[in-house]
Assembly symmetry: C2
Homo-oligomer: 295 residues x 2
């Protein structure tokens, strides 16, 4: 295992422990809701977005306790989106991270409510004094996460994606869709460090450039894994896009050019980090990991 | 029409206009998401919770522009909860405010996403500088709304309610369930005025007492309307609780005692307002309206 994997793993452990405390197992008749939330939110995952929050926070010497809470909030939003996207009325997936999806393990109503509660909890965590002593920072975290996750970001992108099954999109349209569906949350994860660290506009801008390119590379690799990966490796059903006749970067560019494009975007992402010198090495490693991952 | 109705109507008009601006009709391929959001959020409703925000804000001379944005955010959360609660996997309702529910008018995926986007937008609105110049106030609005709407509030209550169909609850259990499901959002609506107006702890406390009693009265009247009202009057299917064999205040107390209890709680709610003298008349009128309403 490379050093970077160790580092990704150690951030994942810290974030899991933070999430475990923020989502305490419930008692009494309402306990099943929290059980479903914990099943979906604490059942594994690489914690790539939390790593982005932690690594970007480290550029500005942000207190790790603040960064971990902000990272947990972003991951809660990511987990809620997976629960809802997996629902029968949406992508109808039975398998996630090698386990039954939330609505399969519990039921649809519980999965809808677990997602709703996780999304809500993310904002509760960010608005809490424990996440940052400065309310201006807290309000900005909430604002930027809401923008990234809402109708002009992730949810809007999922809507476009659902409708893409009935239409033929070209590369610019797929790019826009993916920037909304997955890029926006990746971008805000990297910007969280800058917000928490009250970074200069220049640093903000560099992180925005990095995450913009990395978000797209991330999605292209996801599309490649859907074609090239096995369900055992990837932990979810593969070949779904092709089956649904969905336009993806791979269907439009072909495997080879899609792979080249991902590598190019990775290099481009790394170039944005120059102003941070060695301090940005974890973000450089992350970019390389994202395009090389097999799951 | 009484003076109070005029006032409830005029607040509804102002809040609708604020929501109309905060949820601008979308263009392009993603436009259908915003169309579904607008269909559900701007398609009527008495705007009782926004009235509570406005009336409580007026106690502390809060700038009306701030109160209206905060009121719109609360109503967005209420509207999202209706969209999700109406889904086939949840209460499976076809009719809401006399119109087809969101998933009937559009489809289930769109309804799930419209709810998700509305919930997210509520927090975006509250965290925005336009809602209050003081970030401490904005962060507190977010925190309290998230607490009221999440797993220990509205969503947790809906989960208990879904499971109540398979169990026999007694009055204390029903009371707890309803305090979470509808009471928490009503309570935060009344507290928003105190937060926006940086009220004293005494004033906070009085509003909490008022909204605590009023929230329960509201729910008892809802249960009564489900038994006594016609679908035409109420704008949604009635008799559903009885059909599902669900324990309600009415099934447990009987019609007459439930009605008495609602009246008692209304009087009790009004008593909490004494410290505000005449300024609290709109909140007094609201309490009387809540127990007398026919829809």
């Amino acid at each position: 295992m490379s050093d970077f994997n160790l580092s990704l793993d150690s951030v994942a452990r810290s974030v899991n422990s933070t999430m475990d405390k923020l989502l305490p197992a419930g008692k009494g008749p309402g306990g099943v809701l929290m059980e479903a939330i914990r099943y979906s939110a604490l059942g594994g995952g690489k914690r790539v977005r939390p790593f982005m929050v932690i690594a970007s926070s480290s550029l500005f010497n942000v207190d790790e306790r603040y960064a971990l809470r902000a990272a947990a909030a972003v991951e809660m939003v990511h987990c809620y989106s997976l629960i809802h996207d997996d629902l029968p009325a949406m992508d109808d997936d039975d398998l996630r991270r090698g386990q039954p999806t939330c609505h399969v393990k519990y039921d649809e109503a519980t999965a809808i409510l677990a997602g709703d509660a996780l999304l809500t909890k993310a904002f509760e965590v960010l608005a809490d004094k424990k996440t940052h002593p400065d309310a201006v920072v807290r309000a900005e975290l909430v604002l930027e996460l809401a923008r990234a996750a809402g109708d002009e970001g992730m949810v809007g992108g999922q809507m476009l994606d659902l409708r893409a099954e009935h239409s033929t999109l070209d590369v610019p349209q797929i790019t826009r869709l993916q920037r909304m569906k997955t890029g926006a949350l990746i971008q805000v994860s990297c910007e969280f460090g800058a917000i928490l660290g009250k970074a200069t506009e220049g640093a903000h801008h560099a992180l925005r450039g990095y995450s913009h390119d990395l978000g797209l590379a991330f999605q292209i690799v996801d599309d490649l894994l859907d074609v090239e990966g096995s369900p055992e490796e990837v932990g979810k059903q593969t070949g779904k896009d092709q089956e649904a006749g969905k336009a993806t970067f791979v269907s439009l560019l072909g495997i080879e050019r899609a792979r080249e494009q991902a590598d190019l975007l990775c290099d481009q992402a790394i170039e944005h980090l120059e102003i941070f010198a060695k301090k940005a090495d974890p973000l450089r490693d992350l970019a390389r990991f994202v395009v090389k991952r097999r799951a």
